[in-house]
């Protein structure tokens, strides 16, 4: 004969097993959600904290030329879009670069990584623009000289077409001056943006023309931002 306490114990265990079986899927869902949350990179978190592209409904709509790539990926197909753009060159640069990052309708003609973000943009008194992109600009871009040059060229040409105050461009990645964009293109110096004063440069794209080292300009920028 089975003792009464053993029956109670068996029953309790059975109830616990049934309860666990019912609770387990819900627990699994909760764990997965928690896992996804913890998997968010610092990059994504920072991106979420960033203010949205500063577009004011009061700004007049103007025609903007965006330099996305061609289907073959080795040339540009300028696209004209209408955007409300600020007259302030810094805001305007942010607006056009965010639009460039958002990408064209056809994702195949994208020149910049989809998950890259513009973290900051500064304009120094000498016309040097400093664009600080997230690390994805480096880690998500297709490897190669051509793809990196296309990325930088699309940025400089878009700025040249829409923000005439920017003469040169310095690219930072996550606030740091990097040796290369993704192992090929040199980021230690500035890229010429406004080529109007150069005369003809048949072989050189705007982005390929390096100008003087930017160390002084970056130091100036740092001192400005510290204030």
């Amino acid at each position: 004969m089975i003792a009464k306490w053993r029956l109670w114990l068996g029953g309790a265990l059975l109830v616990a097993v049934i309860g666990a079986a019912l609770y387990f899927p819900a627990l699994r869902r909760q764990v997965n959600v928690a896992k996804q949350l913890t998997e968010k990179t610092a990059e994504q978190a920072r991106r979420e904290l960033l203010p949205p592209a500063p577009v004011s409904s009061g700004d007049p709509k103007v025609r903007v030329r965006m330099f996305w790539g061609s289907k073959t990926g080795d040339s540009f197909t300028p696209v004209t879009v209408e955007l409300p753009l600020s007259t302030d060159p810094v805001l305007r640069a942010k607006q056009v670069l965010n639009t460039l990052l958002a990408g064209p309708i056809d994702p195949e003609t994208r020149t910049l990584p989809a998950d890259a973000a513009l973290l900051a943009f500064y304009l120094l008194p000498d016309g040097t623009g400093v664009a600080d992109f997230s690390e994805s600009m480096s880690t998500s871009i297709p490897s190669g000289i051509q793809s990196e040059q296309m990325a930088v060229d699309s940025i400089t040409r878009t700025l040249e077409a829409n923000v005439p105050q920017v003469q040169r461009l310095k690219i930072l990645l996550h606030g740091q001056e990097m040796d290369t964009l993704a192992g090929h293109l040199d980021l230690t110096q500035t890229f010429l943006v406004n080529t109007s004063g150069l005369g003809t440069q048949p072989k050189a794209s705007a982005a390929s023309l390096l100008t003087a080292p930017i160390h002084k300009a970056v130091e100036t920028m740092k001192s400005v931002t510290k204030r």
Binding site: T72, G73, D74, P142, S143, G144, I145, Q146, S147, Q149, M150, D179, T180, G183, H184, L185, D186, T188, Q189, F191, K203, A204, S205, A207, S208, L209, L210, T211, A212, P213
Partner: protein, 276 residues
């Protein structure tokens, strides 16, 4: 600012530091090194590609004085943990490029050049270490080899640096960061010669070299080009393998055509692309 690190020959240091204009007939410094014999050179005709006459077979004495170019430094990009471009079928740039470098070395050696490489195995030297391999030589050119992950498959592009802005350096030494400056004109000439041949063999390739600020070229004190094949996005690895002999022959043709015009450039204090 770091100054150019002279790693080996005192002759190179004298040439760069004193701005010695070197030509084969003007001074002992300019006397070119005797090219190495083509020991271990492979046959120059493979894979059904255009053959290149072997100078040893054409009765050209190897001891004959030549212009500056004696050594070709090949730089297979990436390596080690850096796989470079990755494509379908498990294609890895760092692996394919090693085979490409090996093939190119054979065709260049068959032309009497001494060929050095920045890596022969699965390691990844730094940019500066790779440049130093060329900077330590006299009469060398530097070719960095890449495979793209974009671009029209079956095309090849040659890249060269743009002219450098004038420097404020008052010493007569070349800054390491601007080592390419005095060689930009020669690099353009070499790049155009190579690209012209590539354009004939690979339809859709540009007719001339493309200007781009390639990091590896900036610190190289020699005529320097980057050659990039498109691309790892091919259906099968065999498509890339079939391109390699043609690209190697085109580069070799370009280098051979460039050889007579290679005169070590005069180094000015400005270092802003001074050319002979």
């Amino acid at each position: 600012m770091r100054l150019l690190r002279f790693q080996l020959t005192a002759g190179l240091a004298a040439t760069l530091a004193l701005g010695f204009a070197a030509t084969s007939g003007k001074s002992s410094v300019a006397t070119p090194q005797t090219p190495s014999t083509s020991q271990g050179a492979a046959p120059s005709s493979q894979g059904g590609q255009t053959t290149i006459p072997n100078p040893t077979q054409a009765n050209i004495p190897l001891s004959q004085p030549r212009m500056g170019l004696n050594i070709v430094v090949l730089d297979p990009a990436h390596g080690g943990t850096d796989l470079g471009a990755r494509g379908t079928e498990g294609i890895r740039e760092s692996e394919v490029i090693l085979e490409f470098s090996s093939r190119l070395k054979q065709t260049l050696e068959a032309q009497g050049f001494q060929v050095l490489t920045t890596r022969d195995g699965n390691d990844n030297p730094s940019f500066d270490d790779r440049s130093a391999r060329a900077n330590a030589q006299r009469g060398a050119i530097f070719i960095t080899l890449h495979i793209a992950s974009t671009g029209l498959p079956g095309t090849v592009r040659t890249y060269v640096m743009a002219e450098f802005p004038p420097a404020t350096n008052t010493t007569r030494l070349i800054s390491w960061d601007r080592a390419q400056a005095p060689f930009v004109g020669l690099s353009h000439k070499l790049g155009d010669l190579v690209q012209q041949d590539l354009a004939k063999r690979f339809r859709g390739s540009p007719a001339t070299a493309t200007v781009a600020p390639v990091r590896q070229l900036r610190t190289t004190a020699a005529p320097a080009i980057a050659v990039e094949i498109s691309s790892v996005v091919v259906q099968q690895r065999g498509e890339l393998d079939r391109m390699i002999p043609g690209v190697a022959d085109a580069i070799t043709h370009g280098v051979v055509a460039f050889r007579p015009s290679y005169i070590l450039p005069l180094v000015s204090s400005a270092g802003g692309g001074n050319q002979p």
